[in-house]
Subunit: 339 residues, 2 copies
């Protein structure tokens, strides 16, 4: 029996050759990217009449992922998906991605190929070229850093929300956080046919690219993607726009599987769980119906969960109505990654 080759066995250039072999030509260049991996930089032609956007997100082993919880292909999907979600929240279409791998050399070459297959499987349907990157050696933990460039016109920002706008959220919230709990405490989901669904929501989030484009075209005044939980992220949008909001927690969409497996904590998971990668947006009241209809055409639901109000003086910018119909101020402060 031959042991599976590790990166230290094949070296940097062997790894790059292996990764290139799982990148079909169509995933390296596209109509806009004319020079991909292999030069000092990648070259692309921006589409005339549009503006460009760039975002970057990094996953650290042990902090953002655990190799005993995720397969490598799902990890490749996720490292790209979290960046595509940022592009979607701007109402832009992704053009290219660069991928930086910080590796110890102990990893199996076949695992890194799986990582790339996961990224390619998400990139290809969105016509995103994997245009370059960097491979560096580290003593660990593993570092996966992805940058994505997109473009579009018009684009969405966080700072355009106006009093009177309706607050909407795509899909449902809490499934990713519920999936993470199941990974942490497998006993909870034992025997539940929905456990895989929830774990899948955590490991392979679905970036809302088509929906972001719909929001940019129809009536949305501001948008962002939900990575730190609704109550962690919404205050950022409110602060950027200089407004307040009233949020009715009874309207927050949560799938039955989350309620069933977490009968006590399901609302907490939906409000604070994080990593949903759904879009949060504000929409002019007169545009709400049309925007929801257009969202349905790209397979997305947009649920109204509250409204934007004028910037409050001397009180919390966010008021939330709880399950009993009681409205309270939400304490300020998002999740702090060093807290």
């Amino acid at each position: 029996m031959t042991a599976l080759p590790r990166i230290r066995d094949v070296g940097e250039f062997g790894l790059i050759a292996a990764l290139n072999s799982v990148l079909p030509h169509s995933a390296r260049v596209n109509g806009r990217v004319t020079l991909g991996i292999g030069d000092d930089a990648a070259i692309w032609a921006p589409t005339s009449g549009t503006t460009s956007v760039i975002t970057t997100d990094t996953l650290i082993e042990g902090r953002h992922f655990r190799l005993d919880w995720t397969d490598w292909r799902s990890l490749g999907h996720k490292m790209l998906a979290v960046n595509l979600s940022d592009i979607a929240s701007m109402g832009a279409m992704p053009v290219l991605a660069t991928i930086t791998l910080g590796l110890t050399g102990d990893e199996h070459v076949a695992d890194l190929e799986e990582l790339y297959r996961g990224a390619v499987a998400l990139a290809e349907p969105h016509d995103v070229a994997i245009a370059g990157g960097d491979v560096v050696r580290t003593t660990g933990p593993i570092v996966l850093s992805v940058t994505v460039v997109g473009e579009g016109e018009p684009l969405l920002r966080r700072d355009g929300a106006q009093p009177g706008d309706r607050l909407v959220v795509s899909g449902t919230l809490g499934a990713s956080a519920a999936g993470l709990r199941l990974l942490e405490t497998p006993d909870i989901g034992q025997g539940a046919t929905t456990a895989d669904l929830l774990v899948g929501a955590h490991l392979r989030p679905n970036p809302r690219i088509a929906l972001g484009k719909v929001l940019a075209r129809y009536g949305a005044t501001a948008a962002m993607d939900l990575s730190d939980g609704l109550l962690g992220d919404l205050p950022k949008l409110l602060a950027a726009s200089g407004v307040g909001a009233r949020l009715d927690s009874r309207l927050v969409p949560v799938i039955p599987a989350v309620r069933a497996l977490f009968p006590i904590h399901w609302l907490e998971l939906a409000l604070r769980g994080g990593e949903d990668y759904e879009l949060l947006a504000t929409v002019r009241p007169d545009a709400l119906e049309e925007t929801q209809r257009e969202a349905a055409h790209v397979g997305a639901t947009l649920t109204e969960i509250g409204e934007i109000v004028a910037s409050p003086v001397g009180q919390s910018m966010l008021m939330i109505t709880d399950a009993e119909g009681v409205t309270k101020a939400v304490p300020e402060g998002a999740f702090d990654h060093f807290g």
Copy 2:
């Protein structure tokens, strides 16, 4: 006495606020970047009639830098400079940079501010906006990952060298590697007034942006920047172009300080040392003189060190003439970071 605050004391948002405070408005947005740090992505307007380029480079503590050898401000310069050098080698002008920091939380806030000051001091004269990034927590080593977008027309690639072209290199080679040796073995440089010059070449390389633009406009057929040493990088250009080269080592420009402090190894440092971040280019013979003249106008020298020949069959693609005038084949294979 109060201890200097560490990142874990001020948290993620405290760090971001501190870094923003050392980024002047002019370093966050510019004529093209209209939305910088603070949204899901940065927005910029590509210049009509140009194409865009993107490159990314990552520095890992202990592997690419040591905190007992570099000050934080130099490190901030270098993490941006190595990326700007890639942009320069494409003949492009840089537009924006994103910076990702992987930190343990133990670092002093003041040190990270110094890192940003070093980046800003290099970014501002080149009108490069620091447009975004990511801060993530790691157990260490520290990770510094920078991505730079540039644009221009025409652009330079590695694959355009033709037989008969002259091989030229900017500046001088070996000073950075000599500086690294002095850091490793301080005894060598003791008392030498030139030690600081060499160490500075290693810690604060100078990206050749204006020269790259000159090369793209006048006669260069291919270019790349030198990070892995002349004998490590030149074969990559030759392979991309499908040509061979004859290199005369007696013509390679080396400053007297390198020869004086390393009387035995100076040529080895110049040929294989790495991290010079000078530009290597191929130039049509009839364009050589004008290109050298225009290079001088932007303060750069271009030294002819060899010529491109037709792709050899059954022999090394690179022949080198040594100090004794003897010509030999160079063994294939660049420096392998996992080797």
